[in-house]
C-alpha cells in the first residue's frame, strides 16, 4: 500500500488573505488524499477561536486586551491594504461574486475533509486561553515536538 503524502501548515500570521491561502492549500491537498495538519500559533490562533468577534477571552487584563483587539475569524485583517478593517469584507464580497469559496467555506471544508487542526500550547498560554476557547474541531493543543512528529516525512509550509 502506497504511503499517503503529507502536508503540514503552520498558520502564524492570522491575516485574512494568508488564511485563505492556507485553507485553500489544506483543503486541496486533503481532497486528493493527503494527510493534512494545520498548526495554529500566535495570531493564527485567532482563526480558530470559538467566537468570531471580539471578546474578552483569556486570563489576566493584558491577555484579555490582546484577545479583544485581535478578535476572531470575523476580524482577521488583510496583510496589505486593510483599509481599517474594510478589506476582508470587500474581498469576501468579490470572492462570492466570482464563485470562489470564502474563508468560512474553506474552514468548513477543512473540517469536513478531516484536516487535523491543532492549537499551539505556548501561544495559547501566553494569551491566557484554554482549549474550550477554540472551535471544537481543534484536535489537540500541542507543542513543537509533537508538531515535528506529526509533520515528519511530509512538506511543511509556514504561512
Amino acid at each position: 500500500m502506497t504511503e499517503k503524502k503529507k502536508l503540514s501548515l503552520i498558520c502564524f500570521s492570522g491575516d485574512f488573505d494568508k488564511s485563505v491561502a492556507a485553507f485553500t492549500l489544506a483543503t486541496g491537498a486533503a481532497a486528493v488524499n493527503y494527510d493534512v495538519n494545520m498548526f495554529f500559533t500566535f495570531w493564527g490562533l485567532n482563526i480558530v477561536k470559538s467566537g468570531r468577534r471580539r471578546s474578552l477571552v483569556g486570563r489576566g487584563p493584558l491577555a484579555r486586551a490582546f484577545n479583544f483587539l485581535a478578535g476572531g475569524s470575523g476580524n482577521l485583517p488583510m496583510s496589505r491594504l486593510n483599509f481599517m478593517g474594510a478589506s476582508p469584507g470587500l474581498m469576501s464580497r468579490m470572492m462570492r461574486k466570482r464563485n470562489v469559496a470564502t474563508l468560512e467555506q474553506l474552514v468548513q471544508a477543512a473540517k469536513d475533509l478531516r484536516v487535523g487542526l491543532y492549537a499551539c500550547e505556548m501561544s495559547m498560554n501566553i494569551l491566557g486561553m484554554k482549549q474550550p476557547d477554540f472551535i471544537p474541531e481543534i484536535k489537540d493543543v500541542i507543542g513543537v515536538p509533537t508538531f515535528l512528529k506529526l509533520s515528519e516525512g511530509g512538506e511543511t509550509l509556514f504561512i
Partner: protein, 60 residues
C-alpha cells in the same frame, strides 16, 4: 476548491450512485475528472453543455 466541493459530494454517494458536476473549461475540466479517477471514481461521461461549460458524470 472545485475538486474539494466535488470530493465532498462524491463521498456522500453509495457504491454505484452517480453524480453530475458542471465544470468550466480549462483547469477545472482537466483536474477534477483526473483527481476523481485517481481516487477510484469512474468518469462515465463528459459532455459540453454550452460555451465553456461541461457536464461530467461520475460514478462511485
Amino acid at each position: 476548491m472545485t475538486f474539494v466541493k466535488a470530493r465532498l459530494e462524491l463521498e456522500k454517494l453509495a457504491a454505484g450512485d452517480q453524480l453530475e458536476v458542471f465544470l468550466s473549461e480549462g483547469e477545472p475540466l482537466q483536474s477534477v475528472p483526473r483527481s476523481a479517477a485517481e481516487q477510484g471514481y469512474k468518469v462515465l461521461e463528459v459532455t459540453q453543455v454550452e460555451g465553456s461549460r461541461y457536464r461530467v458524470l461520475f460514478e462511485k
